[in-house]
């Protein structure tokens, strides 16, 4: 039954391995480097008078984040056909856009700091403001977001902050500090959750210690880590997706939450309240970006312009319960909605007082490692 192993086969495989790595070297030399050509100015290659009906668009977005009938209406009113594809997280779509040469996607929805990283890698088409007259609908504050000051590569779609979302009917006090979450009173032990995504996992400890939410100082991050490790035994869970349901069921009594998501809890139980802790919080934004590989950049700008119209963005407020950086849209929203969901009434000035998140650059892996050390502790 024994037979000699065939060495040629093994040799072949080694050869393939070697060839493959050469392949990488050769092929990726082009888009490597990371820091890319972030300084590129808008090219003049766009033709504003192109017949938009000849173009079509692929848009990648989270499911249900824009009106279902948007593609049909856009096609009817402006021309281009729109195909919507969906992604689950920023991280996944960024990995996909980074790995492939042409994803076939024209416009992608990603959060601000991810737009910054994509732009820095030279993957984004600069925004041609002259093709998007509806930029005038944005609040002036919407051009001051630190991940992309002046909206050179991205256009903000929605924004908000992070705070504590709690059951006012079951707490004996009114929380107002990140320490209410980090060092909970006995009544809250085992009844709180924190966000699992690393930037927001760090945020409460960073703010409670008086640090920046964008700090890249290892000594500060060591303190953050120690604080979070001390908090871990008091938590019910780290939870990014189901925390408001836990709050409604009473399984959790206080959770770290994005403002918009707390509204989903409030929608089910009016006793749920939201507070931005006194130590301050973050300012996050979701943005629209155009990929450099897009062959339909005129239509892409037209779509962003269409979305910035008051009608679409007020839909976002009314249905997603997120704030939008769009004055015309916010003006359309019925005041009653802001009574039901008080955080919708935060003004741009209120929001700008919070700290805008930016990409961490070389400190990114340090955050990931600390997140592992905290959650595995």
């Amino acid at each position: 039954m024994r037979r000699h192993t065939h060495t040629p086969r093994r040799t072949t495989l080694v050869a393939v391995a070697a060839a493959a790595s050469m392949f990488v070297l050769a092929a990726c030399g082009g888009n490597g480097g990371g820091s890319g050509d972030a300084s590129a100015l808008p090219s003049d290659s766009l033709n504003p008078s192109v017949d938009l009906k000849t173009q079509s668009l692929v848009v990648s977005n989270w499911a249900a984040y824009m009106p279902d009938d948007l593609p049909a209406n856009f096609q009817k009113e402006v021309g281009p056909k729109v195909t919507v594809t969906t992604h689950a997280t920023n991280e996944e779509i960024v990995a996909k856009l980074t790995a492939g040469t042409d994803s076939g996607i024209d416009v992608a929805f990603v959060s601000g700091q991810y737009a910054q990283a994509l732009a820095a890698q030279g993957l984004l088409e600069p925004i041609h403001a002259d093709l998007i007259p509806n930029l005038a609908n944005l609040y002036p504050e919407a051009t001051k977001l630190p991940y992309d000051i002046g909206n050179k590569y991205s256009v903000p779609y929605s924004w908000g902050t992070t705070g504590l979302c709690y059951r006012s009917d079951k707490l004996s006090f009114t929380p107002d500090s990140w320490n209410d979450l980090l060092s909970p009173r006995p009544e809250l032990v085992g009844k709180t959750t924190m966000l699992a995504t690393e930037r927001w996992l760090m945020l409460p400890a960073q703010k409670s210690l008086g640090f920046s939410a964008n700090t890249t100082d290892p000594a500060q991050m060591d303190q953050v880590k120690a604080k979070l490790i001390a908090t871990k035994p008091t938590l019910l869970a780290y939870d990014d997706t189901t925390f408001y349901d836990r709050l409604v069921s009473g399984e959790a009594l206080m959770v770290e939450a994005w403002d918009g998501w707390c509204n989903y809890g409030i929608a089910k139980d009016k006793n749920i309240k939201f507070v931005v802790p006194k130590e301050g919080s973050d300012l996050w934004a979701d943005t629209m970006v155009i990929l450099k590989t897009s062959k339909n950049k005129e239509a892409a700008h037209a779509l962003i312009n269409y979305i910035l119209g008051a009608k679409v963005q007020s839909w976002v407020v009314e249905n997603i319960l997120y704030k939008v950086p769009n004055k015309a849209a916010m003006d359309l929203v019925a005041p009653a909605l802001e009574v039901d969901y008080p955080n919708l009434a935060f003004t741009p000035t209120d929001l700008l007082k919070q700290e805008g998140l930016v990409d961490l650059g070389d400190a990114g892996p340090m955050y990931t490692k600390i997140a592992t050390e905290v959650t595995a502790s």
Partner: protein, 256 residues
């Protein structure tokens, strides 16, 4: 049925374990509330929503195409390689190579395939997801078939050949029937794994042909609604009915 004796106990235990969450899942499909967690009263609302949801239905169609195609290809390639490894190779390197797809982290395979497809300029779509799913599908089929082959008596095949039957005839008349249960088990595995695979599919899929898991995971941010429970309930109902009907009609029996 008395011959299964005490085995009734573990059988019952396993099926209860398997189906308790399914019962919960089906109950939640009749939930009036928007959440798959909290109960808000009885309603068939989500079945109506499902009926009008082109994205989900299209995703289901895409997924079924990929799963069926991946199953057929995986069974063909996996069975061949299993027989080949058993009969015509004694290299433990090849053994582990054939099992390797099962141990490569899915994110590495997914991103690797995306880079590879970009390098050779393959347009992404259902075909690339299918090709990717065959990678692990083939490994599962090969392993299951080999586990059975390793104890099979080769004398039957030799007899068949000695009697003058051709290679092909011997393979299909003797070998394949003797490993049929392994092929069925392997095929069921591949189909099941492919139906629900997300990571590799996300990276190898094109923008206009999302598979069902891609559609569903992207709902996580703004809420996976009981619509998906309704879809799952219907899918199981249809599958079970089809299987039972097939059994009634054709007196479907195991091949061996």
């Amino acid at each position: 049925m008395t011959r299964i004796g005490w085995l009734r106990l573990p059988l019952t235990l396993t099926y209860v374990f398997l189906y308790v969450p399914v019962v919960v899942l089906v109950i939640m499909s009749f939930n009036a509330s928007k959440s798959p967690f909290s109960w808000g009263g009885v309603s068939t609302h989500w079945y109506a929503v499902l009926a009008g949801d082109q994205n989900v239905l299209k995703g289901l169609g895409n997924t079924l195409v990929v799963a069926a195609g991946a199953t057929v290809l995986s069974v063909a390639l996996g069975t061949l390689i299993a027989v080949g490894l058993q009969r015509h190779s004694n290299s433990s390197f090849l053994d582990s190579f054939a099992l390797a797809p099962a141990i490569v982290p899915d994110i590495v395979l997914g991103i690797g395939l995306l880079v590879f497809f970009s390098l050779i300029s393959v347009t992404l779509g259902l075909h690339s997801v299918l090709l990717a799913h065959v990678v692990f599908g083939m490994a599962f089929v090969a392993a299951v078939v080999r586990a059975r082959l390793s104890q099979t008596d080769p004398s039957l095949e030799e007899a068949s050949r000695d009697l003058g039957a051709g290679q092909v005839a011997t393979f299909f008349r003797i070998t394949v029937p003797s490993i049929m249960p392994a092929i069925i088990a392997g095929a069921l595995l591949v189909f099941t794994l492919s139906l629900d695979e997300f990571v590799i599919a996300f990276f190898t899929d094109g923008p206009s042909t999302p598979t069902l898991p891609i559609v569903i995971y992207s709902m996580v941010r703004f809420g996976v609604t009981p619509e998906i429970n309704a879809l799952a309930s219907l899918l199981m109902l249809v599958s079970f009915t089809a299987v039972l009907a097939a059994q009634r009609l054709t007196r479907l029996t195991d091949s061996v």
